[in-house]
């Protein structure tokens, strides 16, 4: 609570601004639906959402935006970028994070009263993901355990149903990045108090938005158990899409999860509006 009000880090050393890449697919005329802001983890960019989900969400009436994470920068910088873009949108936005982008969204929810949030295949804890990733792709994962770069392979990210050429085309666009770490200085006191496996402290979302967790039981990066844990911490159960890989927005069958997200949003938002 004290950190919510007394924000020394932001007052003393504001995150240095960067040019941000935001890709959008807008809706003609006045939209009744809130804007959606898709947030990718490092390694992916806005392009991954622009491929399928952005256009689809826009066709269903949701003005859609996707943010490319900045090069380098710690978790705080990524959270800063998400909040900056969200606040620049014309109306209160729904934040949708994928992978490590979902971790960024969980932190951004403490800094911006989102209309709602979706955590897709969220990478929230070290062992829940690295453990799973180690089993399927030890050589790509081991360096990341020691703070190096994480390499994910086709089998982890996509299902067999996705044509190999398409999968390779996507893989070629991905960059390997070091996993996001919370800035040592600001997070240290808390991690010392609670040496948990979480990558960042659980932050209470401001404005109490509805939060949905989605993922695949066959995801080879995020285990089903950690999906369930994530959903429980927001008071729900995960929405599962069996057969899909980690990159839900690119994999064959991409329409199913995004349609489920939009259906859920429509239901939640009609329930909360007076």
């Amino acid at each position: 609570m004290s950190d919510e009000l007394v924000r020394f880090a932001d007052w003393i050393s504001p995150v240095p601004p960067v040019e941000r890449e935001v890709v959008s697919r807008l809706v003609e005329g006045q939209s009744e639906q809130p804007p959606l802001l898709f947030v990718a983890g490092p390694g992916l960019g806005a392009w991954a959402f622009a491929e399928r989900w952005l256009g689809h969400a826009a066709s269903r009436g949701f003005p859609s935006y996707a943010l490319t994470p900045r090069d380098h920068g710690d978790l705080r910088a990524h959270v800063h970028d998400v909040v900056q873009v969200a606040a620049s949108l014309p109306r209160q936005a729904v934040l949708i994070g994928h992978g490590t982008g979902a971790l960024v969204v969980t932190q951004a929810l403490g800094r911006y009263p989102a209309k709602g949030a979706v955590l897709a295949a969220p990478v929230l804890s070290t062992w829940g993901t690295i453990g799973t990733a180690l089993r399927t792709n030890p050589f790509g994962t081991i360096p990341a355990v020691f703070g190096g770069r994480l390499r994910l392979n086709r089998r982890q990210l996509f299902s067999a149903a996705l044509p190999v050429e398409e999968a390779d085309r996507y893989l070629a666009r991905m960059t390997s990045e070091r996993p996001l770490r919370p800035p040592r200085k600001t997070m240290a006191p808390r991690t010392r108090l609670a040496p948990s496996k979480r990558l960042a402290p659980r932050i209470r979302p401001v404005g109490d938005p509805p939060v949905l967790v989605i993922g695949s039981p066959d995801d080879r990066v995020v285990s089903r158990k950690s999906l369930e844990k994530a959903a429980t911490s927001y008071g729900g159960a995960p929405l599962l899409f069996p057969g899909m890989g980690h990159d839900l927005m690119l994999d064959a069958g991409w329409a199913e999860p995004i349609d489920a997200i939009l259906d859920w949003l429509t239901k939640e938002l009609s329930a909360t509006s007076q």
Binding site: M1, S2, E4, L5, V6, R7, F8, D10, W11, I12, S13, P14, V15, P17, H80, V83, Q84, A87, S88, L89, P90, R91, Q92, R111, Y112, P113, V206, G207, D208, Q274
Partner: protein
Amino acid sequence: MQDTPDIADRRDAVCVIGAGASGLATIKNLREHGFAVDCYERETSVGGAWNWRHDRSPVYAATHLISSRPVTEFPDFPMPDSWPDYPHHSQVLSYLERYAKHFGLVEQIWFGTEVVSAVPVGDGRWDVTTRSTGGGASRGQRYAAGIAANGHNWSPAKPEIPGEFRGELIHSAQYKDPAQLRNRKVLVIGGGNTGCDIAVEAAQQATTVWHSTRRGYWYAPKYVLGRPADQVNDRLLRWRLPLRLRQWLYRRTLAMTTGDLTRFGVPVPDHRPYESHPIVNSQLPYYLGHGRIRPVPDVTRFADGKVELSDGRRIDPDLVITATGYVPRFEFLAPELLDTEPDGRPDLHLHAFARKHPTLAVVGLLQPDAGLLPLAHWQSVAVARWLRLRHEDPVRAAAVQQKESARPIRSWSRRRVLPTRRHWFEVDHLDYLRTLVSLLREMEPAQ
């Protein structure tokens, strides 16, 4: 508005008075806590003091933030990070307009409507009488609570200077444009941020500039050590440096840059650094050093159409601008509702909560040593959480009230400042926020 205006009883709805920065944050946070809100705004647009189109707006063409952007923005809606460290008032207005639009607040505001009176009717409810600013019939509605966010920088405090003045005499509220100063002999009265800003502008426009201050002040630069000064100050606070050490550092920093301003004729400050509201102006020492601003003592009277100073000297300006601040006014509330003292100073718990009326609060009535918006935001969160708790758990609410009402002012405002009207609502932003942290914790919703 979605509700029919004919129904006088608005049940659990809360009435917010004013759609400036504090009012907007109050609407948003009340709605986030599940309240229906009717906000009344006498002007036809949002922004309050920051909207230069408003009659009562105190801003002038060159008004920029005194505190830097990161310590001034709302904590849950940052200003664009591409903006300058000290944004212009028009940027602040566009920020508030975007805030209102982003959170759909405009739909809750009745523009061009002023609140004539708010009267308690027992069981915590309020009868609010409103009237169209253009005149016309008044209307009464009943609310569960009333929150005043009507600002405190709009009713000019004009000094009484005896005698007749030959030239033009205006309050800084009427100063809008540097053209008013061009090629004139100007006397600026007042050493606050506005007085210093206008003196600096006059130094660039007028033929002669006198700057009259009653006492010496500590004029802080906008930048030290390569950063906005308030960010450096917060670093010292984070390191928990004791006040005495911070005061010493403050003196050292000034000594190493602008130096002792008394060599230009400015009086010696009669107080230590941090014992008055911060006055931040890098250009004042510059123009003092260029001889463009001539410091003079207090004005005693007008004589023979001229201005007589306390040292007996007479000066002959064409234009006198009194930058002597503003007084808080709550015309729509009987003075006893806010425990207003005879001198006009309301006595409120945390400068926010009415002591005898649990459903009456004031948001934004603070003079912090940092930006006001974050404090107003958390004040309104505390008000919303308080009203929610009172609604849902009256027993716990009573316990909180009992505990809070016993807190003396000293427990949440330790800051030692000059005992002047200027400092009625002066708070240390850190102390104040920490006090709100403990209050918010007490009112934490049950899980």
